[in-house]
Amino acid sequence: MLSLWLNRFLTDRIARLHETSASSSPRMREDGEDAKPAPREARALVVVGKRGNADVLVAVDAAAENLGLSPGLGLAQARAMHPSIDVVPEDVEADAALLEKIADWCLRYTPLVACDGRDGLLLDIGGCAHLYGGEDALVADLSARLEAAGFAFSIAIAGTIGAAWAAARFGTPGRYHGGEERALLSPLPLAALRIAPATAASLARVGLKRIGDIVDLPRAPLTARFGADLMRQLDRALGYEHEPLTPRLPVAPYVAEQRFAEPIAREEDVLAVTERLAARLATALERHGEGARRIELTLFRTDGAVRRIAAGTSRPLRDPPEIRALFVERLAALADAFDPGFGFDMARLAVLTAETCLPEQIGIGGASNAAEIGRMVDHLSARLGGGRVRRLVALDSHVPELASAAASAQAVREDDGWAAFRRHRAEADLAPRPLRLLAQPEPIEAVAEVPDGPPLRFVWRRAHHQIVAAEGPERIEGVWWSEHGGPARDYFRVEDKNGLRFWLFRAGLYRELMPGMPAPAWYVHGTCA
């Protein structure tokens, strides 16, 4: 369990921003001068936030700490002590976004990465350290990257989350083997147990200041006096109770990855690597009798950015060339957004969702119709986006716009509902329906006989139509059981003198008209052949 504490995270973020754009960063000058910025070393940086109604210091950098400022100090007092300090308001979202990016960096070491508070990360490197040549090599790699990026940090590895956390923040950073937790924790203050500050304060009043003080005390009185949380955190830190790590991103059931000695940047190389990784996954998938429904390719750039490309399929897939073809379309769709920078030095292919997929007998006639259509749908969806390739599904509703819906073609459905719809149509003897239905009924100006007659003429989209024949009315009630349901509609199928046909309705009935209600209005809903 590796705990990474970025001890000057907030100020480091601001410092990096200042280095990249010296002239445009927001800085409040304490003494009102607008001369050119003083050299970095001379000015101390503090981050200020509102706690209650007062401005207090939230974070200080090394120079400010040397001056005697510490988090929790009021801003007015700090200004009084040292007038020439840089004050920057805190930005919680920007901090969280940067922490997420660093967590993405760390995905290259292990998929089990969790954010820990505002300025820390937890990595479970239990089974992964050997891939980097041991825990020391892993820590060295991580340290080198963080130093190059300009972050101050401390790293501790221990057997439990609690012990690693305490060691990184309150103890000496380093590697501690399993079993050493007690020796590691005993000299540390009680705040290292991640308990509430109020509990720590009340323990201090009783004279218990270090973890070693409470480790051997009888548990029941402590629990009764200070709450169960204290003992639970102690048990977790010592390893008596297991504390699992909740990773930021769900862990995929099948993962294959490959690191490159020389970074790759060309699309063909990326696709070749994808096929090779897919071949490794195919053996694992076949052993379990499963196929992939959602696949994600994660590419780690040399400068730390992480690119994730996901593709979905309509049926479980195992075949490496087909997976490669999917990603050909995805990369074509990304085009400009696929920016390799200086190249990728690691690629990981993960199967996010897998489904049972029994091996099918491929006849001499080739794949079945369904498989062929599925492949075409997958290619179209990969290039255009899953929401653009759809099939029609019949829903159980008498309201026309809800009776038929378009659902993604990749989602496999047992029953489209059309058989049931045909039965209903035959039984209820529905009038003919239009070929095309507008997304929203469009209001028209119509002249019609009151109360029940079809329209004689109407204006739609600035075109006048004179009606020569009409069929109807077909009354379709609104959703009367819901308060948002609309009024009853009388549908008419009309033909104008040129032969164009429309499906119109009048929303609302004249005989139900009451004072204060809007008059029934006419709409066009669809067009018929």
């Binding site: 290039r383 029609l392 073609a409 059309w418 009409a470 069929e471 009315p473 164009l500 046909r501 018929c528």
Partner: protein, 255 residues
């Protein structure tokens, strides 16, 4: 399966291309089918233009009717009769005319279960999607719906070649007729026509179909109706006066 192997051997022995005859979709109208050489040729691209933007629904109805006939008619590969229909439409077309409505398709005779709809944002995505759909062997009809703007001849030729290779029926539905030459097998201009008076409500939908380009024979104009009971096109038999005084036609409605 033996039948399929036999057909495969035959296909391999013959060089692919225009010599292959994947068959035709007969429209069910004697005169028209004769002019077309048996019907609309499969494995070819046909352009269907609406006479104007307002006539687009009629042209879409004609296209859907042809697709329904294609699915109903059995091609030379009799075993594979569960082929799909892919309808690719530009976002602009969907916004103006609305989406294809399932119950309406049932009325025309095209099963909504066979249909896959694709919405594209750009013209190049439309062309790519049409080619991708034509590449799939299990697709029987591919419909591409577009609005506005010309389609360059190179693109049309690519689509024709893709259609020829796949043996599917490719229909290009557009909102205005194009004047320049093209490599499409046939070109139609579809407009709405008044239907025959019917005491029970609206009669069969009627349209004018003008064939402006035909690789296999002469051109012509016909007034045809879609017969719902037979699920096919028939020639309209009622007289079509040029000018109809509207004020004299009483409204027919069903209580």
């Amino acid at each position: 399966m033996i039948e399929e192997l036999r057909q495969r051997l035959q296909a391999l022995q013959r060089p692919p291309g225009l010599e292959d005859d994947p068959g035709t979709v007969p429209l069910g109208l004697g005169m028209v089918d004769q002019v077309l050489g048996g019907g609309l040729a499969r494995g070819a691209l046909h352009e269907i233009a609406a006479a104007g933007e307002a006539h687009m629904p009629t042209a879409a109805g004609f296209t859907a009717g042809v697709a329904a006939l294609s699915c109903a008619a059995r091609g030379p590969h009799a075993g594979r009769d569960d082929k799909s229909v892919v309808w690719v439409a530009e976002d602009m077309a969907l916004a103006e005319s609305g989406a294809v409505y399932g119950p309406g398709l049932i009325d025309i005779g095209l099963a909504p279960e066979r249909l896959v709809t694709v919405a594209v944002a750009h013209r190049r995505d439309l062309l790519w999607a049409l080619e991708e759909a034509l590449r799939c062997r299990s697709v029987g009809v591919v419909i591409g719906e577009m609005r506005g703007g010309a389609l360059d001849t190179v693109a049309v030729r690519r689509l024709s070649l893709a259609a020829a290779e796949s043996g599917a029926l490719a229909l290009l539905l557009r909102a205005a007729p194009e004047g320049d030459a093209s490599t499409a097998a046939t070109r139609w201009i579809i407009g709405a026509a008044p239907s025959a008076p019917n005491p029970y409500g609206l009669g069969a939908p009627c349209l004018t179909a003008q064939l402006t380009r035909n690789r296999r024979g002469p051109l012509g104009t016909w007034i045809i109706e879609w017969s719902e009971s037979d699920a096919r096109f028939v020639l309209a038999t009622h007289a079509q006066p040029v000018a109809q005084p509207v004020s004299h036609r009483p409204h027919r409605k069903i209580a």
